[in-house]
């Protein structure tokens, strides 16, 4: 491919064709990723500076119901009733009015102030109405001789007009979402939980992975089986293993507690996933348990590519096993360990499912990602949820900068 000697002119055309082909091949991917990743990201940025509750996503509407009351046969005196309301409890509707066709066979009595009749078209105007506005109009009506009880006033839908502005598209911007998430004392709790979970989880998984890799870095019968077994936590569906942990550590009927109690280690049942600070430690342990296989796999692959003769030479020199590990294996593994650290750091930082399933973010285990869900869905304040998401994204950009700057060229990623 590195065909440097090609004359510049011909190369230009070729290169152009190649570039065109490349973009053609990439086009489908770029489109779909843009639609599903980039657009939502932009939406999140936009929402984060808007004072939006979940229910505000829906613009206020004018809701109208009409019916005929006490009118069954010709000659009945009843009423034609309209019930109107503003669907939003707190936001204004402007220029509210409706028109409806008076059905045949109905003669209207005195009209309310808001309404006027023109030929057989009824028009009612209300102007601007506040949030939570409700109005019931009962227009007295008489059924004339040609009244047909089969005909319902609902057969001709009234035309309604009402203007509303959506918080999403109007010009109101606010930094309240950010000040809200930073001001609340819980932000520091959340940050602490996130950092603890991320750092301890990452380091723990790598140390455990290193230990496991050292165990399996030799061939013996059953090595394959053990290697397969040690990958189980990572391969199994997270929902299955998370629930298995919850049941194992249930304070009431869990085996772990029963074991500790019977062995006399604990005096009373321990609420592993429900107490501060134990819950945070437990979700971190779960994280280590679930992801050590990944580090283990990486490290094992790297270890097996260390030339055997280095160890043989060291043996001859009389280096002890620990010395061999410290002076031969570790330096060879440093590269992969640092790559692993950064990658796992980012991914643990991003982790949502595990904590959500284990504790739902209770008992001091609410990390930034769980906070997005908590703010946006549980409290229905999507502005604040989006603000947390923006904070996450900013952290992520920082990490990625480090990643590309220091790691990627080194390991060719």
């Amino acid at each position: 491919m590195s065909d440097i000697s090609t004359p510049p002119t011909g190369r230009g055309a070729l290169a152009k064709g190649e570039a065109r082909l490349a973009w053609g091949l990439l086009f489908p991917t770029i489109t779909i990723v843009a639609a599903v990743v980039v657009l939502p990201l932009l939406a999140i940025f936009w929402i984060s500076v808007k004072p939006v509750q979940l229910s505000d996503l829906r613009a206020p509407e004018l809701v109208l119901r009409e019916d005929l009351r006490r009118m069954n046969v010709a000659g009945d005196e009843g009423s034609w009733r309209f019930r109107l309301r503003n669907s939003s409890p707190d936001r204004q509707l402007r220029g509210v009015s409706f028109t409806d066709v008076v059905p045949p066979g109905i003669v209207l009595g005195d009209l309310p102030e808001a309404c006027a009749l023109d030929a057989s078209v009824l028009t009612c105007t209300f102007g601007d109405v506040d949030g939570g506005w409700r109005e019931t109009l009962e227009i007295p009506a008489t059924a004339a001789a040609d009244f047909d009880p089969e005909v319902s006033v609902r057969d001709t839908a009234p035309d309604t007009t009402a203007r509303s502005s959506s918080v999403l598209t109007d010009g109101t911007f606010t930094l309240a979402n950010f000040s809200r998430i930073f001001d609340a004392g819980e932000f520091w709790d959340v940050l602490y939980a996130t950092l603890f979970y991320t750092i301890v989880g990452t380091v723990g998984a790598i140390v455990m992975g290193l230990f496991a890799a050292l165990l399996l870095d030799k061939s013996f019968r059953g090595q394959g089986i053990l290697r397969g077994l040690y990958l189980f936590p990572y391969v199994a569906p997270v929902i299955a293993v998370a629930f298995a942990w919850i049941i194992l550590f249930d304070p009431f009927s869990g085996s772990a507690n029963a074991l500790l109690l019977r062995m006399g280690v604990a005096g009373e049942a321990i609420n592993f996933f429900g107490e501060r600070p134990l819950a945070l430690i437990m979700v971190t342990v779960f994280e280590i348990w679930r992801y050590f296989p990944l580090s283990f796999l990486f490290i094992l692959a790297r270890m097996q590519s260390i030339p055997q003769d280095m160890y043989e030479a060291a043996d001859i020199d009389g280096a002890s096993p620990f010395q061999q590990f410290a002076w031969i294996s570790l330096p060879q593994l440093l590269g992969i360990l640092s790559v692993l650290f950064l990658l796992r750091f980012i991914w643990t930082f991003n982790k949502f499912d595990d904590i959500f399933l284990l504790t739902g973010g209770n008992a001091g285990t609410r990390t930034l990602t769980v906070n997005v869900y908590e703010q946006a869905f549980a409290i229905s304040n999507i502005g604040a949820g989006a603000a947390v998401a923006v904070v996450i994204f900013a952290c992520l950009l920082g990490f990625s900068f480090f990643f590309f700057r220091y790691i990627s060229q080194e390991e060719g990623l």
């Binding site: 570039a19 779909i32 929902i239 299955a240 949502f352």
Partner: protein, 405 residues
């Protein structure tokens, strides 16, 4: 340090460490199998382990004899009622005997193997560390096997036990085979009343289609990034990695709203639209790495012969990449099969549930825990079977793709 390296001291230390490890392991193991309470005593373990560890250095015994002697010691201690494992309040004699047998036989073998090479005098650093490493290796195998196996064991066994049995003795994981079909009641109910057969089919269908769609998008993309020169290539390649690191929860909210508005929520089609997008970046990333590693000369020969680029990809590159495609497919399949968050947020209708969503629905109401675990087993078994059957590809896929968590 040099004091520690003294033969008997090292032997005693390692003996004590072994005894503690084995006492805990055996007590937990026997408890999990029989449901009986046994209590490991750290103090007795340290004492007896150290004495016997050092003792075996002075009295050299063949393995068989050592095992026999150890078992006899164990039996005597059991009768007296002291030792590394003490009986709990209600532990039966059978469980105690079983525990003593495993503990003492295991101890004799482990200590003899570990301390092989240690002499009565001071040991050199090499021998000492070799012994330590032997202990650490043995300990490591026990430790990792236990922590990995126990949650899965609990999952499996709980699925066979009714709530009443579980509360009565949370430790008892024995299976009462006399219950016959009743044992599988949870599975039967999940398949008959909870439609788990359908969920299984849905999950399978969704995962397979996700794999196919992902490959359709990722193969041309990866080839372009790996082989073709165009401006913006480096930026693009980094962009993929960056996008791949955006957490799903950040995107979930706008996606939820957009899908609701367009009516894609609560439909398998909607899921099929979104799953591949989560997997395309990782597949692209994995494949371009592989394509770069393929010799360019073969392709150039193809180009020389007048084949177009697309033909080259189809006729030369893809056949060469079959193993990589298998790895990527398996990895993508695993991601789609295990996906929880999107299924949880986007699917409401039980007739469209995937397995993970179905399990989430088992968690909440008055449904027995037994069902929850049986559902977990149903979701876990296929992916495990696939994994064990195609381990070579899977491992490769995991290594290449594990930038994704």
């Amino acid at each position: 340090m040099s004091f520690l390296r003294n033969g008997p001291v090292a032997a005693a230390m390692l003996g004590a460490a072994w005894m503690v490890t084995l006492a805990i392991t055996v007590a937990v193991g026997v408890a999990f199998v029989t449901g009986e309470a046994l209590r490991p005593s750290v103090l007795w373990s340290l004492l007896l382990g150290a004495m016997l560890g050092a003792g075996l250095l002075f009295v050299r015994l063949p393995v068989a004899v050592a095992v026999a002697v150890a078992v006899v010691i164990g039996a005597v201690l059991m009768v007296i009622g002291i030792g590394p494992i003490l009986a709990g309040d209600d532990a039966g004699i059978a469980a105690q005997a079983l525990a003593a047998l495993f503990l003492w036989a295991g101890f004799a073998i482990a200590v003899l193997k570990t301390n092989d090479g240690l002499a009565q005098g001071s040991a050199d650093r090499y021998t000492f560390e070799t012994s330590c490493i032997r202990f650490l290796t043995g300990f490591g195998y026990i430790f990792f096997t236990a922590i990995v196996a126990i949650p899965f064991w609990v999952m499996l066994m709980t699925s066979f036990k009714s709530r009443a049995e579980q509360v009565a003795n949370p430790l008892d994981f024995g299976i009462d085979f006399s219950k016959g079909r009743e044992l599988f009641r949870s599975y039967e109910e999940l398949f008959t009343q909870f439609d788990f057969g359908l969920y299984l089919a849905n999950s399978f269908l969704i995962s397979v289609i996700t794999v196919i769609v992902t490959l359709l998008f990722a193969i041309p993309g990866a080839y372009a990034v790996a082989r073709l020169r165009f401006s913006g290539q480096a930026a693009f390649s980094r962009g993929i990695l960056l996008i791949y690191m955006v957490p799903m929860i950040v995107l979930a909210l706008p996606i939820y709203i957009a899908f609701s508005v367009t009516g894609l929520r609560n439909s398998i089609f909607g899921i099929l639209l979104i799953y591949p997008v989560t997997t395309i970046p990782v597949a692209l990333y994995m494949l371009q790495g592989y394509f770069r590693g393929l010799p360019a000369e073969v392709e150039e020969a193809g180009l020389m012969d007048g084949l177009s680029r697309l033909k080259v990809i189809w006729k030369i590159t893809l056949p060469l990449s079959l193993p990589a495609l298998a790895s990527v497919s398996l990895y993508v399949f695993m991601i789609a099969w295990n996906e929880f968050l999107l299924a949880f947020m986007l699917l409401d209708d039980p007739s469209k549930f995937t397995l993970t969503r179905g399990i989430a629905a088992l968690n909440s109401s008055e449904i027995p825990r037994q069902h929850l675990m049986a559902g977990s087993v149903i979701a876990t078994v296929p992916i495990m079977a696939l994994f064990l059957g195609l381990e070579r590809f899977m491992t490769k896929g995991l290594t290449a793709g594990s930038v994704k968590g």
